[in-house]
Structure formats: C-alpha cells, structure tokens
C-alpha cells in the first residue's frame, strides 16, 4: 500500500515541475509535454487517494485522465503542426499577434 503522504508530495512536486515547465519553456511542444506531466501528477494523486480508501474510483478517474490526455495531445499536436506551417517557429512569444 502506497503511503499517502509521500504519494501526495510526489504528486505535488510533479505538478509544480509541470507548471514551471509550462511557464518557462517557450517551445510549444515542450509546453504540451509539461501539461502531460501536470495531468499525470493529478492522476497520481487520484490513484494514491483511491488506494488509501480502498475505492476503485481513483483508478477509474485515472483512466479518464489518460483518455482525455490522449485527446488533448492529438488536438494540441495538430495545432502545433498548423502553427509551424504558418510561422515557421514554435516559439510562443513570437506567436503573440492576438493582444489588446
């Protein structure tokens, strides 16, 4: 049985790392990867909580998150491809024409 305290700390560290990646990396592909890390951190938290209370819900939600992440990545990668065609670059700071 996973110890819940360490599990949540690991999940928090992973989530923070992912968030830092999103905020720091300028390459869109890396940003997408960082989002994957954040999603998995959340999934890990569900699994840990599910084992703690001996409920299958945590595993079920993780499956949902996996499916959602797959969908998100497919859409995200399609957008990345299209953006690359348009801008010949994946730098998010360069793609900033929509502003007030």
């Amino acid at each position: 049985m996973l110890p819940i305290r360490e599990g949540f700390i690991l999940s928090g560290i992973l989530f923070t790392l992912g968030l830092i990646g999103v905020l720091v990396r300028r390459n869109l592909v890396f940003a997408l990867m960082s989002i994957e890390v954040m999603l998995n951190a959340a999934g890990l938290a569900f699994v840990v909580a599910g084992t703690r209370w001996r409920q299958p819900d945590g595993q079920v939600v993780f499956l949902f998150i996996l499916a959602m992440a797959a969908a998100e990545v497919s859409v995200g990668l399609a957008l990345v491809l299209e953006l690359y065609h348009q801008y010949k670059s994946l730098d998010t700071d360069a793609i900033s024409r929509m502003r007030g």
Binding site: T92, D93, I95, R97
Partner: protein, 621 residues
C-alpha cells in the same frame, strides 16, 4: 343651419393641412385659391349661422354642438364641443370676415414671396385656432386654441426667418406670452380642483352657487385668468412683445397683432365674467391695468418713428380701453369696441402695408411725406381708419364704441371720474399720435419716391373695412340688446353723468389732440426739433421711445440672469457626474487591456495564480 358650426374651424384647418402638405408643389394661383377660399367658406358659413341664430334664437340664447369625447379619465371629462351664444357668435363673425378680407389682401401683398404657400398655411391655421378658441365649450379646448394662436403668432412674426432679428422677435413674443399662459394654466388647475369641471357654463354656475362674492378662490382664479389675458392681449406688464411683433409681414400684424388674436384676452375675461364679478378686487385690477396701459402705450406711440410700431402701441392702448370696459362691468361695450377696433385697426394696417409697399419697404415715418397726392386711395382709407381710431365724433364707429366705454366708466360702481378722466386723456393722446402719423406720412414734402401702386386685391378689402369703420357703429342699441342675451347688461350705479356730456368731452378731447398735432407737425414743425434739443425733452423722448424702459428692466431682471446662469452652467454640472462614470469605465478598460499581451505563458501564469487564489479562498475562508 347651426349644425354646420363645426365647419367654421374645420374648413380653414383642412386648408392649412392641404397647404402644409402640398403647398410647395402648388402654383401660387392655386395656393391663393385654397388659402382665401377656405376662409371665404368659413366666413360665409358663419354669416349664415348668424342669420339663422338671429332669425330663430335657440332656447336660452345658446346652442351647444358636441362632436366627440376628447378626454375621459376618472372624473375628468372633456369633449370637443362648440358653444354658440351671442358673444362667441359676434366674435366668430368678425374674426372670419376680417380674416377673409386680410387673406384677400395678402394674395397681392405676399406675391412673389418664396414662402407664399407657407404664409397661407400659417394664416389658415391661425384662423382655425382662433375660431376654436372662440367657440370652445370648455376651458381645455379654449386653451388648445389659445396655444394654437400663440404658435401661429410665433411662426408668423418670424416668417422672414433669414433675418435673426425677426426670429428673436418671434421668440420674445412666444416667451412673454408663455408667462401669462402659465398663469392661466394654473388657473385652470385651480378651477378644476375646486369645482370639478372645465365646461365653461357648468363652471360659471358652480362658481356662482359655491363661492360668495370676494371668496379667496374666486379671487385667485380670476387673477390667474387675468394673468393669461394680460399676456395674450399685451397689457401691462407683459405688453413688451407686441411692438416687436411688427417684424412679421404686415397682413399678419393686421390680422393677428391688431384685429383678432390680441383681443383673445378680452374674450376670455368676458367669457368668464361670472368669476370676475365674484372677485371685485380683480375686476378693479382689470380696469386699472387697462387704464394704465392705455395711457402708457399712448405716450409711447407719440415717440415712435416706425409706422407699424405706432400702430402697435395704438393697439395696446385700444385694448386697454377694452380692459377698462371689462373692469367696470360694461361687458357689451368691451365687445362692441372689439368689433369696431377689429375693423379700423385692420384697415390702418392694410393702409400702412400699402404705404410700405409703395415706398419699397420704408418703415420710418420721417422718411415719408406728401403721399396724399401720390397715393390718394391709401390716404383716404388711412384717414378714415385714423379718424375711427381717434374717435372723430358722430361719424366714425370708433367714436361710438369708445364713447360707450367712457360713459360706462363714469357711471359704474367700480369706475368713477378718475378712470373717466384718464380715459379722456387717452382720447387726447390717441388723437395726437394718430394725426401726427397722418400729417407726417401724407402731408408735407415728399421724401421717398413711390415705386409701386396697390392693385385691386389690396384696395378692395381696405375699402370694405373703411366702410365698416364708419358704418359699424351707427346702430348700437340692437347690438347691446343682442349682447345682453349672453352677458349681463351694464348696471348704471351712479347715473351722475349724462351720455351727452361724456360724448361732448370726448369730442373736445379729439379736437384738442387734432389741433395739437396740426400745430406741432404742420404749422410749426420747428417745435418738435426744439423739444428734441432740450435735454429734458430728449430724455423724456428716449424714455417713452423705449416703452418706459420696460424692455431695459426686463433685460436686466430676467434675461441677463438667465443667460448668465446658462453660461455658467455651460458644462452642465449634473452631466459631469455621468461623464465621470464613463471616463472611469474607459480608464478601467485601458488598464485591463494592458494585461492582454498575446503572450501565452503570461496567460498561463495568470490562470495558475488565479486558481491558487481561488483555492486559498476556498480553503481558508
């Protein structure tokens, strides 16, 4: 025949509508036919109605025609209904008939003016409103006509709107009469509040049965109605608009600002005479206002140099006589003077119009002269009108009507010898300024060449009016008897003064004025110039010329403070609050739009930060 009554206002109204809508596309011949034709129909119908009314008087001497319900809210009912009795019949016949003559005259006077159809549309609308005012069965409908004639007066004074001075004169007339109209509206509210109806006849019966003589409500209501009458009839202290109203075309001055509209106040007081009889102080005030006005306007008329302004002041003065008659309870005499005044004053304005046209729009009487030989027709009709105005004894209608007023004043309970003497002094003044005008314009050396002679359409109406100015007053006994079916007869309270004595005094007063004018302006013209060099004389002249400084006073008291306040509040202090709200919203918008950088990572950071804040709030609060 009496069922045709509604056509008298309806036909001119239809004419006004037709001219307003199709007028600009009509040929001027068609405009003239519509403009004059509708008034002719109206005049003929009113004459036929008068014939029917006289040959078979309706029961109780009055006839009511209800057309439809206008307003019906709670206990307030108001109908579009016409009330015909001796008073309104005489007024309607005179108004439509004089209007017809003046419309006929206008077809030639206004020929070639670019606003030809507009002019006739306004004039027709005026006649419709005036007749509505006269025939109204209730005070609300009367008020509608009252405001309608005020509107037409405004439109016609500013008819030649390209000149800003004319627009100013129109606004002045509108605003000054509005002061009186407001008082009158408050009076209507008071009457409805206390007596619960606005039907004039019901109102009079209710007032008579509910209010004792001298009751405060009667005094307040009568005083407020007097305020309206004073404004519309250009009496003291609201007379300042009428001389400036002469900026309008001359037929307008003849019809609206001499013969008909300005006597609406006289009609209003006569119509509501019961209220005034219940309020003796107010009735006395009517007499005093009339007397003061007739003297002040007489002095002012002496000094004017614009032919139309002299006539305007004489109108104010003559309406002063009518007010005097109303004030002393000589109701019939006031209406009699209204009738003769409508004839001779319209005549004088038409003759003045002929002179002005002939001299290429010259208004200054000191640049006229010697027109007796150049324009003999104008001279004779002007002389007849002038004699009627001044009251040439035994011949003219004006003498008979004014004489009746003076005699009634001397013998009434409210009047007395003081008011009578003022009236006689007024006769001297009237005669003096009238013959000053005649001598300066038609005698002496010619000053300006005559460029245009009047055609038939201008001469014939003037001749008809000249005939009426003489014949209109000969037989006054039947008129007075007819009037007494609608208005109470004159009560001879003192009986001290015989009519012959009063008439003789008036005759000598006329003669005195005539001789003074003859001496000062024909025999010895140097006299006037000497008086002008004398500083005291010049000051007095200036004082009278400016209408006793009333315009100056009102300018300082009312116009300037209002203009100053408007200038001070140009930025609109209240509005700046709303402006501030708008400016704050714009500022917030600019601040928020700064956050929209287009940088994806910044957005992500904001979302993360915001989520952290929300989670913190949920957890710790």
């Amino acid at each position: 025949m009496l069922q045709l009554l509604w056509l008298v206002p309806a036909v001119p109204f239809a004419g006004a509508l037709m001219l307003a809508i199709f007028g600009p596309r009509m040929r001027s011949k068609v405009v003239a036919v519509v403009g004059v034709g509708t008034i002719a129909v109206s005049a003929v119908i009113s004459l036929l109605i008068a014939g029917a009314f006289l040959s078979a008087p309706p029961a109780a001497g009055a006839d009511t025609q209800v057309l439809w319900t206008w307003i019906d809210v709670g206990s307030f009912h108001s109908a579009i209904a016409f009330y015909l009795d001796a008073l309104s019949l005489v007024m309607v016949v005179v108004v439509t008939f004089v209007s017809f003559l003046i419309h006929l005259y206008s077809t030639e006077f206004m020929r070639g003016d670019e606003g030809y159809s507009r002019f006739f549309a306004y004039m027709n609308l005026f006649v419709a409103s005036m007749v509505t005012l006269l025939l109204a069965d209730n005070l609300l409908l009367l008020y509608l006509g009252w405001e309608g004639v005020g509107l037409c007066s405004y439109l016609l004074i500013g008819f030649w709107y390209q000149d800003p001075a004319n627009g100013r004169a129109g606004r002045k007339a509108f605003i000054v009469t509005r002061v009186g109209d407001t008082a009158m509206a408050v009076g209507l509210f008071l009457l409805f509040h206390r007596l619960g109806t606005l039907r004039i006849q019901d109102l009079m019966h209710a007032a008579q049965s509910q209010w004792p003589i001298g009751s405060p409500y009667a005094i307040a209501a009568a005083a407020l109605l007097l305020g309206g009458a004073v404004g519309k009839s250009a009496q003291l202290p609201l007379q300042t608009w009428l001389p400036d109203a002469m900026a309008g075309p001359t037929p307008t001055s003849a019809l609206i600002h001499a013969a008909t509209m300005v006597t609406a106040g006289v009609y209003l007081i006569a119509r509501t005479h019961v209220l005034f009889e219940l309020a003796p102080p107010v009735q006395l005030a009517v007499a005093v206002v009339g007397t003061a006005t007739l003297l002040m306007a007489g002095f002012s008329a002496l000094t004017q140099n614009d032919i139309k302004r002299v006539l305007a002041y004489s109108t104010i003065s003559q309406i002063g006589y009518m007010f005097l008659a109303l004030g002393v309870g000589a109701w019939g005499a006031a209406i009699f003077h209204f009738m003769t005044h409508a004839f001779f004053k319209a005549l004088l304005f038409l003759a003045a119009g002929i002179v002005i046209e002939a001299l290429h729009h010259e208004h200054n009487i000191f640049r006229m002269g010697g027109l007796r030989k150049e324009l003999p027709v104008a001279f004779w009709i002007f002389l007849i009108g002038g004699c009627a105005l001044a009251g040439l004894p035994l011949i003219t209608a004006g003498f008979y009507s004014k004489d009746l007023i003076l005699w009634s004043t001397a013998n009434s309970a409210a009047g007395g010898m003081g008011l009578w003497a003022a009236g006689i002094a007024g006769v001297v003044l009237t005669s003096l300024y009238t013959f000053r005008l005649i001598f300066l314009v038609f005698f002496g050396p010619a000053a300006t060449p005559v460029t245009r002679r009047p055609g038939r359409a201008m001469v014939i109406p003037a001749c008809v009016l000249a005939f009426l100015s003489i014949a209109g007053g000969f037989d006054r006994a039947p008129f007075t008897a007819f009037m007494s079916t609608a208005l109470p007869g004159f009560r001879d309270a003192r009986g001290g003064v015989a009519e012959a004595a009063s008439s003789t005094a008036a005759g000598f007063a006329f003669l005195a004025g005539l001789l003074a004018a003859w001496y000062a302006y024909l025999r010895n013209p140097a006299l006037g110039r000497a008086a002008g060099r004398n500083p005291a004389g010049r000051l007095l002249h200036q004082f009278w010329f400016s209408d006793w400084g009333m315009d100056w006073l009102y300018d300082r008291l009312f116009v300037r403070p209002v203009v100053w306040m408007a200038a001070a509040n140009k930025a609109d202090i209240i509005d700046s609050i709303y402006d501030g709200l708008a400016r704050m919203a714009a500022l917030c918008h600019r601040f928020l739009s700064l956050t929209e950088t287009g940088k994806l990572r910044w957005y992500a950071a904001w979302i993360a930060g915001g989520s952290a804040v929300v989670v913190a709030i949920v957890m710790f609060l």
